[in-house]
């Protein structure tokens, strides 16, 4: 299965979830399959799982979906232990594993040797709902279950290499942040962006 067709298969399952996507195909394809201000792109390789954890802990009633990659998860494998420690019930962590650094030229990652079982690692950190999926049908079932049961959930989706050519990302990092934060403000009734006061306005 390919990442793009996986995304198209699961996209109709979502409603008001927040999405944190790792740099590369996970971001470009997801923002093309499901364009939304609820999508947050990540530029620091490995950090999407940690950003998703922080978001999930800050908004415990709101489901957060992290879309990681195999190279990215390898780089921040410790984040699984931290997720296992904090047990965010609203976090769904999907790792798209194409066994390569596709966005960086296609060199093999640790999963290419087929010794590394991400689902077993996740389960070992205390993420009891950890799954390996090989077909689109199983992926859809797994994500549907994850949306209906308390997490944290980890879904290791083994995909074929290859990415869909998409248009340029619609916005840069700062615009992405402002749109995402405004979306949170509107949907959660929060004020997050505060403008500093001028000296004459200070009390």
């Amino acid at each position: 299965m390919q990442r793009d067709e996986c995304m198209q298969a699961i996209a109709p399952l979502f409603t008001d979830e927040l999405f944190v996507t790792t740099n590369g195909g996970a971001t470009t394809e997801w923002s093309s399959v499901r364009p939304s201000d609820a999508n947050m792109q990540v530029k620091t390789m490995g950090l999407c799982s940690s950003i998703g954890l922080g978001l999930a802990l800050a908004l415990p009633h709101r489901r957060v979906v992290v879309m990681d990659g195999d190279g990215s998860l390898w780089m921040n494998l410790g984040s699984l232990a931290t997720i296992g420690l904090h047990q965010p019930t609203n976090l769904i962590h999907i790792c798209w594993d194409n066994k390569s650094y596709e966005a960086s030229g296609g060199e093999p990652t640790a999963t290419a040797a087929e010794h590394l079982d991400f689902a077993a690692v996740a389960r070992g950190t205390g993420i009891a709902s950890s799954w390996c999926v090989l077909t689109i049908e199983d992926l859809r079932d797994c994500v549907r279950d994850a949306l209906n049961t308390p997490g944290p959930h980890f879904v290791w989706a083994c995909i074929e290499p290859g990415h869909t050519i998409t248009l340029e990302r619609p916005c840069d990092e700062l615009e992405n942040k402002y749109r995402f934060v405004r979306h949170i403000e509107q949907t959660e009734g929060l004020t997050i962006l505060r403008m500093p006061l001028g000296h004459s306005q200070e009390r």
Partner: protein, 143 residues
Amino acid sequence: MASVPDINLLELITQLADDEDIQHVPVGREEEGVGVCAGAYLGGKRPALLMQNAGLMNSCNGLTTTGLQFGIPILLLVYYAGDMGDNAFHMLGLVTEQVLQGLGIKYAVGRNPSDVKKQIADAMSICQAAKRPVALLLTRDVL
């Protein structure tokens, strides 16, 4: 407040656990803490990361490509190991301020216990106004 411990931060971390107004999130590596803080900010919190300056070194890419690139306010409360009179991590002390300067992260040094409360409030305030990470280096004298 995300944190990675240091023996000099022990008392502060113990107090964090008892403070109901602060959600304490221990992490395994400091750069994870940058991510957790960024996510917390996006979710409406005012995040801070408590760590030693060795952890500041571990966090440089996250601070650059998440903190600075997306404009995320994160208060960095950093134990300043290797400051004058603190010899255990002398090499870290030699490079800490230059690293912050190189990253373009505004910082202050807390050396006087009677000033540090205002310094923390001021650092949080400028951090939120500038929407960037800001650091306060905490010496053993104030910890």
